[in-house]
Point group: C2
Chain length 331, copies 2
């Protein structure tokens, strides 16, 4: 098993990426190909101890910056770590690509170079989010901004496969994120999608309102890309604001400061529960290859967890299972 | 000045509504018409002291339940507190309608019975949300689920008027909620809306990502109804989940419990900052009348604050100012 990892992707690359890879290789039975600027990767690798024969380097001289327009970057930087990394998946023996780099560029490169899975028309990014019970798989969080109802159906089917094979959920229940719980709520798009899901998705649980997704009553929550992106951005923004407010309020009172000190370990535990990186990266589903997108601010642990999830995808032949599932439910 | 208040709307009606009205009438120079089941309103009124000549009752025998389908309820319950209340606005001397009842029914009744403001094609619900700096006015949070770009332009213009006249913000800056900050990001709809806003809205500040809306750099944040609804629902859901998690974690440790006790007053302050009801209700803009929607779980204070915001709308002749502003910027 050989996983290609973008050494140059993300805000803390290559340090954080290489450190995560060095941890992963000690923990998992996997070979890694680090793709990026060779000298810089070698310099980072020197800081770690690891079984040297299981890490290779594939040189890629350029880097797609985090805020670069995605499609333009593909044209102008054909030798970036993202382009070269994705293209390696087309060679025999390379099983998956992991990147904490520019999400748009990873989506575009994967879609263009790998093509789509049979029966799937658009890519979708899934993300494991924490809930009060355990976790849920939210899809799409931003790959497809103008979907049709059938794209959401395809995402739902892929999500169920991912939830079962990678996250270990039996008979994953699917909810459609909507503005109300009752059937017949929401936009024309939502109504059409609801109808399609009701007809085609086993264990379809109906609409789920946004405030209920954290309750944990649905294993897979399906929404269009802009909506999913807003959900994770709002969650991030709100949590950051709440933390900033908390610090501001605590600083006003020595008694509250003492209280915060006593609560520290429990607050830390909550922070951990709310930490998406615990669950690995965000799989890019629908393309004809296993691609995992890690958060731009990925820590070494996040990279290691992303590699772990990727290994499960490979072991469970997830592309074959998804293709079969989608074909079986084809419209 | 005479404000019609739906006595039967919301989860705690009529108790909470009547209590809020009794408070409002002591604090503000206003007359109130309570619309709803007369006997029940009289029974509640007996619990309070207030200047009796400034409260009237308009009997409405039926109630639209909170989860009843909106348009059907209008047809079957023409004598509900919502229908009768909205219709009173068409009589001379009645200035505004406040309801904590079924949002869909209030929107439908207002749109049908009052009609639209000149130059405005669709209604939109605005909501004041707390930010790290102060507050922002988010619109639309759910009135219009299938808008066109020009509807968002109209909402932006109305929002600027509301922010200035009611919230007291000079030269309110407008942001378009989108999946990325750069122009040219997002769906086809977002791109078209951006272009329109750039051409027509004074103080248009460009796109704002969902995680940045709480930073307080925009006074008015414009989005389509489904998106805005998701934002407030996610915020509610996340805050409830965070509180549930906090309680669960604290209960595991006596030390943390002691810490929470010490932090109590500060945590309470944060809760207050995050409490939408502090700012009054959510104005329904675009209809040819002043209509304020209060949260279904409105406390007496929330009702009082909603009445306060409504008074400002009346005093500042907001319908005239909006009509004039929209006409001036007509496409």
């Amino acid at each position: 098993m050989k996983i290609v990892v973008d050494a140059m992707g993300g805000d803390y690359a290559p340090e954080s990426i290489v450190a995560g890879v060095a941890e992963a290789i000690k923990e998992f039975d996997v070979n890694i190909v680090l793709v990026g600027i060779e000298d810089r990767i070698r310099a980072e690798l020197k800081k770690h101890e690891y079984p040297g024969d299981r890490i290779e380097i594939a040189h890629a001289p350029t880097i797609v910056e985090m805020h670069e327009p995605a499609t333009a970057s593909l044209r102008s930087k054909k030798d970036s770590s993202i382009s070269i990394g994705v293209n390696l998946l087309k060679e025999e023996g390379y099983d998956a690509f992991v990147s904490a780099g520019n999400t748009g560029a990873v989506v575009a490169a994967s879609t263009i170079y790998l093509g789509m899975l049979n029966g799937v028309e658009r890519p979708a990014i899934g993300l494991v989010i924490p809930t009060l019970k355990d976790f849920a798989f939210l899809i799409d969080v931003g790959a497809n901004t103008d979907p049709k109802p059938e794209h959401l159906l395809q995402s739902a089917l892929m999500a169920q496969v991912y939830a079962k094979e990678v996250l270990g959920v039996n008979n994953p229940k699917v909810g459609l994120m909507n503005i109300g719980e009752e059937a017949g709520k929401g936009s024309v798009f939502s109504k059409e999608t609801f109808k399609l899901m009701e007809e085609r998705v086993v264990d379809f649980n109906g609409n789920v309102e946004a405030n209920d997704i954290f309750k944990g009553e649905h294993d897979c929550i399906i929404c269009e890309g802009v909506m999913g992106n807003i959900v994770i951005k709002i969650s991030e923004g709100l949590m950051e604001s709440a933390a900033a407010l908390l610090r501001r309020e605590i600083s006003k009172s020595p008694i509250a400061l003492a209280g915060a000190f006593l609560m520290k370990s429990r607050l830390h535990h909550i922070k951990k529960l709310a930490d998406y990186t615990e669950y690995g990266g965000a799989p890019l589903l629908g393309v004809n290859g296993i691609v995992m997108i890690s958060h731009g601010r990925s820590s070494p642990k996040a990279i290691k967890n992303a590699i772990r999830a990727t290994i499960r995808e490979i072991e469970h032949h997830i592309l074959d299972v998804m293709t079969e599932r989608v074909a079986r439910t084809a419209i």
